[in-house]
Symmetry: C2
Subunit: 212 residues, 2 copies
Amino acid sequence: MRLSPDQAQKIAEDLSLRLERSKTPVPIGVSNRHLHLTQEHWDALFGKGSQPKKYRPTRQPGYYAAEQAVDVEGPKGKIVNVRVVAPHRTKTQVEVSRTDALALGLNPPVRGSGTLTGAAPIKITGPKGSVDVPDALIIAQRHVHFSPAEAAAMKVKDGEFLRVRAGVGGPRETVFEGALARVSDKFALEFHIDTDEANAAWVKNGDLAYIV
Amino acid sequence: MRLSPDQAQKIAEDLSLRLERSKTPVPIGVSNRHLHLTQEHWDALFGKGSQPKKYRPTRQPGYYAAEQAVDVEGPKGKIVNVRVVAPHRTKTQVEVSRTDALALGLNPPVRGSGTLTGAAPIKITGPKGSVDVPDALIIAQRHVHFSPAEAAAMKVKDGEFLRVRAGVGGPRETVFEGALARVSDKFALEFHIDTDEANAAWVKNGDLAYIV
């Protein structure tokens, strides 16, 4: 096979872009199971007038894990103590690992945050009551957060799919394909995976990954 | 950069070998938590004179999952109903996922089967008694089983580390680095991963992977 000058140029540019991007280490954020609530569901679970209390900030500006937690339940099991992330949203969204989903007896789809098409039904119980939400349970799609400046520096566009290498030097080095790029001035550089993905690659919160 | 003819030749040969290998689909075997027992530990847990009863064969010739199961326990938790794989071995070996290990409150290393250096301690309880084994708990190293003929056809040597692509076409395509090649006339072609790895790549038992 003989490449045309145009083909050769395109390959060279792609390799050069990948090489350039891979020089910026991306901190890994491991998402444990958690949920976002609407005001209405919060009121039903914790009581009207009550407020989420800050437990600790997340790396993404403006969000925080609350002290409050709920139980979630499916046909085969229950998981207790699932933490609320605040502030509230316009749709209730429960994010679990596939390991969790199998324990609950549910088969939620992999979805980007905020995309609840085909999400599985889930029962949520708080100290003041329960709600049955028909379309709230998802397994989070692996994704990389960028501020606009970070995205520009790495020539990444919002919605692009990236390949991310993690666990380099450890016993389970892994390349994650199809990591969704999400660019917003509310975001900071971070590669988000769930606990199954983190355990598969033998990485933990704050370890470094590389876009390759 | 200009390659020497020798360097170019080497790269061409490596690419050609990878291309050739990737043409053979490798069935995925997802290992759920399980254990192998010594005769002595079996006797302590199930009673002297009792025998493992075949529940179903594994894909690897000669081994079978037994009907019998045990509970395993660490400082933070207990997992019930962990299945025994027979026939017995010369060392007791308990294989769990990292998700399981964290639930037990233990920090076992990633190890190839039969290599128990640094393995974590674990308490095992059966219907007739309990044993505390100081060095039995591991997290299995991803590996590929080959018969000698399969290894020869794919030019793979025992002990070699392979790169395996899984979940192609699914929502979580993943490339597993450092998969240990294990060649034996007791083996059949299969890529073994644990439940964390299977969930991370969104694959299940019998799905196909590719050595790339």
